[in-house]
Symmetry: C2
Subunit: 151 residues, 2 copies
């Protein structure tokens, strides 16, 4: 099989947390960097958030740390249905996904779904879009695809 994603460069690790302020502070102290300000994902009308095929009001607070070539993302989800909330409720705090920057989101999702890796959640952000695929059976971790316009 060829490389489905067209890349094997992991660009991000996403970690679910209950309290983004507290965990951001802990990371900043531990790595001797400034605590980043968290942002919040867009509302559903703008983000077009879909979770398991249904529109969802879910949003999350996000904070990013640059760890070498890798980005570490802290995620504090709200209580609306999302892969973030589902994983946090099921497994507690900890790693949620590894992310890859790809091109051709629709085609990639279609190929993965044909390979028993169903779409969990997708949405838009300023300048691009994301999708989480349920790759747990085969890869033991959720994969996020990121497609940035103009890259």
């Amino acid at each position: 099989m060829e490389n489905v994603l067209g890349t094997k460069l992991i660009t991000q690790i996403g970690i679910l947390v209950h309290d983004i302020e507290a965990t951001s502070r802990a990371y900043a102290q531990f790595f001797g960097v400034e605590k980043p300000q968290w942002s919040i994902t867009d509302e559903v009308d703008k983000a077009q958030t879909q979770y398991r095929g249904k529109r969802s009001d879910a949003r999350a607070k996000l904070a990013f740390f640059d760890m070498g070539s890798l980005q570490l993302e802290l995620i504090e989800p709200d209580h609306n249905p999302s892969t973030w909330r589902e994983s946090l409720d099921r497994n507690g705090e900890g790693p949620h996904h590894v992310a890859f920057v790809i091109k051709g989101m629709k085609e990639k999702i279609a190929v993965l779904e044909r390979n028993q890796m169903p779409l969990l959640q997708k949405g838009e952000y300023t300048g691009g879009r994301y999708a989480y695929l349920d790759t747990l059976r085969d890869l033991k971790v959720i994969i996020e695809l990121l497609e940035n316009d103009g890259e």
Copy 2:
């Protein structure tokens, strides 16, 4: 606080699996690379494995994939006491740790233990040594330190 580790470069993500052959095959297919041959960690007499302060016969099968600048490590532990087995039994398959290459293992472990990040497990491998620290409370993921001789 200064950077405790002297680095913020994540060099490895470790993922616990039940069947290293099957998951290695899945990764190799997914990323279009050759399936690596797994290796097994050294016996306790050579590895000097300690888990929670006690000598342990624990060993694990390991397989490595290069994912950009990051190494992805699959880990299939045996049933002796280890952080691998404990996490696999408690949380199932999935991410176990992120690793950093450091210098001065003893001093780093001492600083981390003073900061309520207790040593979970340590051992030797050809050319270096590793330590897992319980950083779950603050960082929500276990950290592994790797010290390679002659680097």
